[in-house]
């Protein structure tokens, strides 16, 4: 196993760990805002690790660029959506 493969494997483990952390957070935290907080952070870190691992595996500049774009888009969309959903959760109507 080469060094790159070892790093890739480690990154995959980190990514999976963060996804699990996000899921534990969304299942165990007591209220909607702490759940939301757990989800957005853990998720994007997990995706970042996975994207870097995939980039190392492909070893191609263009593909790495596309992977970075995927991560940035996801980060951006998740952040915006989390902010909006958090505010919506404050509205009395959403639990109706």
């Amino acid at each position: 196993m080469s060094v790159v493969e070892l790093i890739t494997a480690a990154l995959l483990a980190i990514g999976v760990f963060f996804y699990f952390a996000g899921t534990v957070g969304i299942l165990r935290f007591p209220d909607v805002h702490s759940r939301l907080h757990a989800l957005t952070k853990a998720d994007n870190l997990g995706l970042m690790a996975i994207v870097i691992a995939a980039g190392l595996h492909f070893g191609d500049g263009w593909i790495a660029g596309k992977l970075a774009l995927i991560w940035l888009l996801a980060l951006f969309a998740a952040g915006m959506a989390a902010q909006l959903v958090a505010r919506a959760a404050l509205s009395p109507e959403h639990n109706a």
Partner: protein, 308 residues
């Protein structure tokens, strides 16, 4: 490992579908249906059907969710959200029996299917004349182009059907609610920042579609989704449905498609591509179709006019 993944995915798909169909909470059902769309897109990836996966990701996981949430709100605000009456148990029994029988018959048919090679060998063999690298685009716009032509006409017909529900005094007016235009905020900046990126993705998908997975339907759906986001963020209002340029845009794709077929008729064979010129003609059709599909889908989601 691959088989374990497939197995887990199939179980999740069935679970998400069951929760979506049988959930007590209507909104929860919609959420499960969105999840179901994501999982189905993953299933198409594992089957190696990336073209289908792209369409499912854009439609099932994206646009259908927005459509259903809009319908849910419209029905609730319209006063149609009363709790559903329980179904009598004999009906449950009969429907359950019929469904189980259906499942059994289809499963039996699946298990007794002979092995096959399908047309997978023949499509690339005949692909040479079209000069397209993506066999799915070759089938959509080459070998079975008349299917695609009729399908775009189905989309146009569905739009006409949706418009026929317009109250008479709003005919030709503006669909959707009059969204507040927030000067600033998270939603407004989201609406400003995402569309250019979505536009790039859409252009890329239609450009890649000739030789790699992608194409008019996928790109058109992404474009429609981008437009819906702009409207939801309140940055632009929906167009007036009576506007001529809008209607021209809707029928542009089918018209170009039909026009090519008619020119083929003048040159000899009806509904055929000119010899040796297939690829440029297919690309022209593809680009025109992308625009028409985007406009038609966006207006289908927007629904009938409700303002003047």
């Amino acid at each position: 490992m691959s088989l374990a993944f497939d197995l887990a995915l199939c179980i999740l798909i069935l679970g998400a579908a069951a929760l979506a169909v049988f959930g007590r909470d209507l909104f929860g059902s919609i959420v499960f249906f969105i999840v179901y769309g994501v999982l189905i897109a993953l299933a198409w990836i594992t089957l190696g059907a990336v073209d289908v996966s792209l369409a499912e990701a854009a439609i099932g996981a994206g646009v259908t969710g927005v459509l259903l949430i809009g319908a849910w709100q419209g029905i609730r605000d319209g006063g149609g959200g009363e709790p559903e009456a329980p179904t009598p148990w004999p009906l449950h029994l009969a429907a359950g029996g019929a469904a189980a029988a259906l499942c059994g018959v289809i499963s039996f048919a699946v298990l007794s299917l002979p092995g096959h090679d399908g047309l997978a060998g023949e499509v690339p063999e005949n692909q040479g004349a079209l000069e397209l690298g993506n066999p799915v685009t070759g089938v959509l716009l080459g070998f079975r182009a008349y299917d695609t032509l009729l399908e775009t006409l189905v989309l146009t017909a569905a739009l006409a059907a949706v418009w026929s529900l317009t109250p008479s005094q709003f005919w030709g007016g503006i669909p959707g609610p009059n969204h507040v235009k927030p000067p600033d905020g998270v939603l407004a900046s989201f609406g400003r920042m995402l569309p250019p990126r979505g536009l790039i993705v859409a252009v890329y998908l239609v450009w890649a579609g000739a030789d790699a997975p992608g194409g008019a339907f996928q790109a058109g759906t992404v474009l429609a989704a981008v437009w819906i986001l702009i409207v939801l963020a309140g940055l632009r209002d929906e167009p007036r449905l009576s506007r001529l340029p809008l209607r021209a845009l809707i029928i542009l794709g089918p018209l170009v498609f039909l026009g090519v077929g008619l020119i083929g008729m003048l040159l000899g064979a009806p509904l055929s591509y000119p010899e040796g010129q297939a690829k440029p003609v297919i690309l022209v059709i593809e680009y025109a179709l992308t625009l028409s599909i985007a406009a038609t889908l966006a207006l289908l989601i927007a629904g009938p006019a409700r303002r003047r």
